[in-house]
Symmetry: C2
Subunit: 338 residues, 2 copies
């Protein structure tokens, strides 16, 4: 891929079930030229996140789908290489939403300048970015963990789950993390300080979860769905809170077979006064300053740690993204574009 | 039934599916004698409410089930006939939770004195009691209707649904009520001022609901479940709120057949940022004073109206309760005990 061209990865076709490499297409185009008031951005880092799976489908959601033949969307860290905008100069580093490509034009709307000396740039799409903010707002505003309560989160070595568990502990709750495989389990228990780590691949996973939650579950931070949900559901306490920020286990297909589990959910929502609430970050935009202040303090004190999984090269993004949906990443998945 | 005895209706057996008359047993016992610090209450009115169906099952819930051979529980309006309690004298009228019987002993805990000149006594178990408070707190605290939004409620001629719709209109929202049969529909539209009334028995019910909600549904106050849920679900807007206070359509059985509707619910909770929250009144006990003040004002101004369905005679309670579960009542169902 020549640096004199813009490499872009577009949605070639909508996936039927599982995402496949042929759903993407890599294109080379001339580097675009910024017009009046515009900037040319060179993408340094691309964030890969599970929500992107939803954008590949043509279904009604809080955000429009990516159109076929359009660049895949995504959060990015970029360097201003040419500026016709009064607020930016060449060399500025910004957080943008430029998608899966190596260059992009911006009119400045939605950009945020980053200070590369304050924190590693990758944290702007990780612990100090969307995943960290999702964990912070979903757990504290919806989950509202109290001291001594039990908080359960899956994908617990991922950027959202890892942060949920650590904030839960800061708030005095017990953190029970679910992850895939012994390495991830060891990491969340030994490095991140979760009280219990459970491998969802274990044959007796549901029993292990039950043993890990002798007082039931007060907060279940739902970011996976699937079999984890079935193990969690009977353990929910009265007044349990369930922030819903992801359902990665069912993104590839909506399995309608098996018993109808809706009546039992509604029954327990009623009998246990459960709160089940989906959310997106823009609901909580006024919490941004508080989030930055708290998270920077926790990072500084060491109360919150994070792990990143950096993959080199934009053209590796499709493969890395497919691996993400299968749980192959270990930490926040970031593509190093340049 | 002799007035020299206490007539009580006990749970004879737990229902298997639908409630049957033989699940109840009528007993005659001596009128109990109050001990030191106790009161003898003569029950005047007994409230019959859908939640009692749940108490007949031996299932975990926010409240313990009624034991077999115990008196069925329920809210009551009673007269103090003998008092060994310093705060009460014979002749006082109180709100109590004395159950399905004609006399009861109380130690005074949980009683509230009623002023029979301020409002009809039956309102203490209706519009100014648990059903009214359920509507008020569930709609305003969880539903949070905004001007111009669409609020849908079923069982809309019942004491909760009727109040939900009227408060929704007071708050500037559109109220779409669902009821069974032309009389109830005419009542909620013409008497209570709902914007639209829809008969859930109509063959094209789901289409009628869709037509009645051209801008979708922002608040669905869930008090029935069943087929109404299926019609409501696809119409829910982003950020819709669903207070869950009852599921009368599924109390008699949990139908697990058919497609699994859980994945679609979770998907929409995520994609539409829905809030689904069960609740019980005791969560909101601090809102009692505000409720009384607001509801008394609305009753006085005529902004809120109510309808009661008074059935004479305690021994008719089982039949009336079974009818309630089938939607045969028309307004708040109250048994006139004495």
């Amino acid at each position: 891929m020549s640096q004199s061209h813009n490499t872009r990865i577009v949605l070639a076709s909508r996936p039927q079930g599982r995402v496949k490499p042929e759903n993407f297409r890599i294109e080379e185009q001339p580097i675009p030229v910024p017009g009046s008031g515009e900037l040319l951005l060179k993408i340094l880092l691309l964030s890969l996140d599970p929500y992107m799976r939803g954008r590949m489908d043509d279904a009604k959601s809080y955000a429009a789908p990516v159109a076929v033949n359009d660049v895949m969307e995504g959060g990015t860290v970029a360097e201003v290489v040419k500026s016709n905008h009064p607020d930016y100069v060449a060399g500025d580093i910004v957080l943008s939403h430029s998608g899966w490509q190596s260059y992009a034009i911006s009119n400045g709307v939605g950009l945020r300048k980053l200070n590369s000396e304050a924190a590693p740039l990758s944290t702007a799409v990780g612990i100090l970015g969307m995943p960290g903010f999702t964990a912070y707002t979903g757990l504290l505003t919806i989950g509202q963990p109290k001291p001594g309560e039990t908080v359960v989160v899956a994908a617990a070595s991922g950027p959202v789950g890892a942060t949920v568990g650590q904030i839960a502990r800061i708030k005095g709750a017990r953190a029970v993390g679910i992850a895939g495989g012994p390495d991830k389990c060891a990491f969340i228990k030994n490095e991140l300080g979760f009280d219990v780590a459970i491998d969802h691949r274990a044959p007796d996973f549901a029993n292990q979860l039950k043993d890990a939650c002798p007082n039931g579950i007060d907060v279940y931070f739902e970011n996976v769905g699937g079999p984890v949900w079935d193990a969690v559901f009977p353990l929910l306490n009265t007044f349990a809170r369930i922030p819903v920020c992801g359902l990665i286990a069912q993104y590839n297909s909506l399995d309608l077979s098996g018993n109808d589990r809706l009546p039992a959910l509604m029954r327990d929502i009623l009998k246990k006064s459960l709160t089940v609430r989906g959310f997106i970050n823009r609901e909580f935009v006024d919490q941004r300053p508080a989030f930055f202040e708290a998270m920077n303090a926790w990072l500084h004190s060491g109360d919150v740690k994070y792990r990143e999984d950096i993959v080199d090269g934009l053209t590796n993004a499709p493969k890395a993204f497919i691996g993400l949906l299968d749980g192959h990443n270990f930490g926040k998945l970031v593509i190093k574009v340049a």
